[in-house]
Amino acid sequence: MKLAGLIVAFAAAIAFTAMGNSYYVFIMATLGLTALVGIGLNVLLGLTGQVSFGHVGFYAIGAYTAAVLTVTLKWNFWLALPVAALLAGATGALLALPAMRVRGPYLAMVTIAFGFVIENIAVEWRGVTGGQNGIMGSARPTFLDTERAIAIAAIVLAALATWGFHVLTRTRWGAAMRAVKDSEVAAESIGLDPVRIKTAAFAISAFCAGVAGAFFFALSGFVTPSTFAFSQSILFVLVVIIGGAGSLAGPLVGATIVVLLPEFLAALAEYRLLFFGALLLVVLWLAPDGVVGVVQRLAGRRRKPRLAPAADVTLGEPRRAVLQAERIGIAFGGLKAATDVSLRADAGRITSLIGPNGAGKTTVLNMLSGFYRPDAGAIRIGGVEVQGRAAWRVARAGIARTYQTTQLFGSMTVAENLAIAGGGEALLSFVNYRGDLDVRAADLPHVDKRLVEIARALATRPSVLLLDEPAAGLSRQDKQTLAVLLQRIADSGIAVVLVEHDMDVVMGISDTVVVLDAGVVIASGAPADVQRDPAVRKAYLGEHALEPRGARAAGSGRPFLVVDRLEAGYGAEPVLKGVALEVREREMVAVLGANGAGKSTLMRAISGLLRPVKGGIAFGGEDITRLPAHNVMPRGLVLVPEGRQVFPELSVLHNLELGAFRRGDDAKADIESMLERFPRLRARLHQRAGLLSGGEQQMLAIARGLMARPKLLLLDEPSLGLAPAVINDLFAALDRLRAESATILLVDQMAGLALALADRAYVIEGGRIVASGAASEIAATGALEKAYLAVN
């Protein structure tokens, strides 16, 4: 249907060119050549997602090569043409080398610089290029000895290129290009080498521009450097963007607009750059998918969904292999994220990696899958060492993985996501995906994204499957289905490595559980043994040695902070599903719950960092639900965020001063009182905050929060990643605040610490409050241990 339309359009263009007068012939030739460059650029920009602001360089190489060969060396044009095109293509592949290593504005710079280098070589290499005067010659190609014939040839070329683009998008290479554009990380994890794919895209794209350049010379009979100015590169980009990057007809529509519009609107001709600049802005604002995208949306092609079959599928036998990590470790800027981690994942078994937030679990997965290069240690799969290899090589060695935030190829359909990894629809049946095969992966509901990602990982026929928090954000029922699925994957002979916070899932299906804390393995063994291990309980629940302070008389009774039926989250599925709680004046309230229960989301929503979807938040009698964070804070509600988040490049003093940013008065006296409260900060006052230890940073973060003289202080995971001795200091500091009758809402994984301090507590699980009451009551019931370690 679409193809038929294109064929008609090309036939009409050829007919028009065959009959039109010489003015139209020249325009149609320009149109054909511009479209040809556009189609080539579309491979780079549209399919692979790499911008080039230097494409005129390739166009110039094509034109000058043809000119030099036919005029100076008297070659036949048909011999010169392939040389010109190949030279441009080879230059493209060469330019890809530096371009590979950079992205975004850096890549734009490389391509711009390239364009300028070529333009200036054309100016300065006078002996060959004729300098500013260029090369003049009327060596018309055999068979194409009229302008009309060249114009028709240009249109035929554009048609051929369109067809080529169509074919390319249907091949594995085309799919791989789109995969690289959507998610380079995911592309690597299914064994695609982004370097080769981008190089190919650069070469194809440059080749097309080279062909167009050669024909441009044949058409006009001269080349001068001024034809190949920077602004021409911008016009080429414009052709692709206006039409619609990535779409088949996009560059044709774009070229038509860019070439024809100024010709038909004579008044516009002079102002064409002005007009194109404005047009590009408008297109970017209103129609990021270009003209073709808008038309497609308006047409709203309804198609019947093609559902994944509900068949009973079993996985084939994988290459069985053991994954072994021996004493691997990595440090980032001196901070040890993982040290001496050893683990072994056997074929057919589920090995889970658990630990509190910030324990280094994802870091270990990143090392196992080749995204991080370990500083020390060895990683072996089936006896082959893979540490330090590129991620795509590790993937080919048989290690597949999924991600905390799913990394599907969003613009590709579910079926395409599977096909590019080498798998068919049967795998979708295997993972219980029952949805549409032709829907874009980006439009899938959350649970389906997880399933399709797992299916795609399986499509690479891995020996080992690494999963990073696959249950996060799933409903209880979906989690159970997932647990069964993981079990079936293991039963097929694959070694499954699971990082997961949901202890029901972990304890239910794991053969071995490895517990990480602060980057070190603290326990390893069967689930029941790990659950009983005192070191693990301490890591999760904190010191029980802390003396409970006991509840105080209830506060003044006035509710200070009221959260009502709050729903909030980041994607389709809300993290908080109707949370209600209140904090009274002079009260210390704890919110407890396992990782991923929604504690930090709650804190972000209250402080205004995250806008709630539903429900309300009132503070001091005022509705603050919709206020942005910078307007919530001056009202006296101050959050000390998770992970401390001090400003690492600023000194301790400047961090403290920023805490008082919204206070009009002099904060000097308060800084002095903070240094008395946290004496260890005094010696560090003029050091960069990033150089402080974790404990000192936490003290600084609290001090910075107190500088605002908060009426209500929110503390998010203050004990996260701190050593036990430091936690005692922290406890003392919080106890002092409590004694000063500060109003505090405290979130902490270390239930022991929080309950020892708090007057009241709420337990949150799966985005809902499941228990609340006096801190001592909560400590006495088993609700907490169940929520944390799935101990029944």
Binding site: P98, A113, V117, N120, G277, Q407
Partner: protein, 289 residues
């Protein structure tokens, strides 16, 4: 010859550095840049010419007024070409700022005129002998002014409350919001400063070159190369890269002739980025998955 090449290299380099600092300021706060900084520079020169020559104002108020207008143009860039895209997480700001630059250049082309205008400041071309080298006052004023502005930026960032707030936004936008800092406002301010810096460079350069609508293109691109080489993450790195770039360019011109300047400098840019993808003074960013 080396002496005069160094002097003119320092002058050019400090201007590249100044425009590049404009890239740095916005990139640091928002991870976006106005790709058409050259247009901001050109606007500075055109405004200053209009006020000083056409309207006959004294140079100082003319320059001050130009800077104000450039800053306003910076706000326009942020609102029109950056914010709508940054908000939806798209990197189309890159092309949108290019588009806005094209609009600005061509608007000037049709209002200001096609012909290059000479911006003659009698005091600026007076000569001096410094260490046996003949230099014009302007050639001395430019690096002094460029480095002065860079120092001013440094003082503002380190020594004032609002400067520190900007640095806080750079380092952790969420934490900055929790300090009560209005992040969108900080980004707008960064854009205003950024274009004002480029405008200042335009005003300084105008007396040495002619004023016309696309005088900024090449300057802006070279300044971008400088910013990239400087690593976009360090203000001093950017300024230093600017001076280096200017000196290298002048030396190439002096010893190999002007024909090779563009070819060699841009080739050096490509090679430098191929070897050091984060620039000469930039830090590697950690890839997170």
């Amino acid at each position: 010859m080396i002496g005069s090449a160094l002097v003119s290299g320092l002058g050019l380099g400090s201007m590249y550095g100044l425009i590049a600092l404009g890239f740095y300021v916005t990139y640091a706060v928002s991870s976006t840049v106005n790709f058409a900084q050259g247009s901001s520079m050109m606007l500075g020169a055109v405004f200053a010419y209009t006020f000083a020559v056409k309207f006959g104002w004294h140079f100082v108020p003319a320059a001050a007024m130009s800077l104000v207008l450039c800053a306003l143009y910076g706000l326009l860039v942020e609102i029109v070409a950056v914010r709508p895209f940054a908000r939806r997480g798209s990197n189309a700001w890159l092309m949108a700022t290019v588009a806005l630059g094209i609009v600005a250049d061509n608007t000037v082309l049709f209002t200001f005129g096609r012909e290059p205008r000479g911006f003659v400041l009698p005091w600026a071309s007076e000569g001096l002998m410094v260490l046996g080298i003949h230099v014009s006052k302007m050639q001395l004023a430019i690096p002094a002014f460029g480095l002065g502005l860079a120092a001013l930026l440094h003082w503002f960032a380190r020594g004032t409350k609002y400067g520190k707030a900007m640095l806080a936004v750079v380092q952790n936008a969420d934490a900055a919001r929790l300090m009560g800092i209005n992040v969108p406002l900080a980004i707008m301010a960064a854009y205003a400063v950024s274009t004002a810096f480029a405008g200042a460079a335009g005003i300084m350069i105008a007396p040495l070159f002619n004023v016309h609508s696309d005088m900024g293109t090449l300057f802006g691109l070279k300044a971008f190369a400088v910013a990239i080489l400087g690593g976009l993450t360090s203000a001093w790195g950017v300024m230093l890269a600017g001076l280096l770039f200017g000196i290298v360019e002048s030396l190439i011109t002096a010893f190999l002739g002007s024909s090779y300047t563009q070819i060699l400098t841009f080739t050096l840019v490509i090679v430098a980025l191929a070897i050091m993808p984060n620039g000469l003074f930039g830090r590697a960013e950690l890839k997170k998955v």
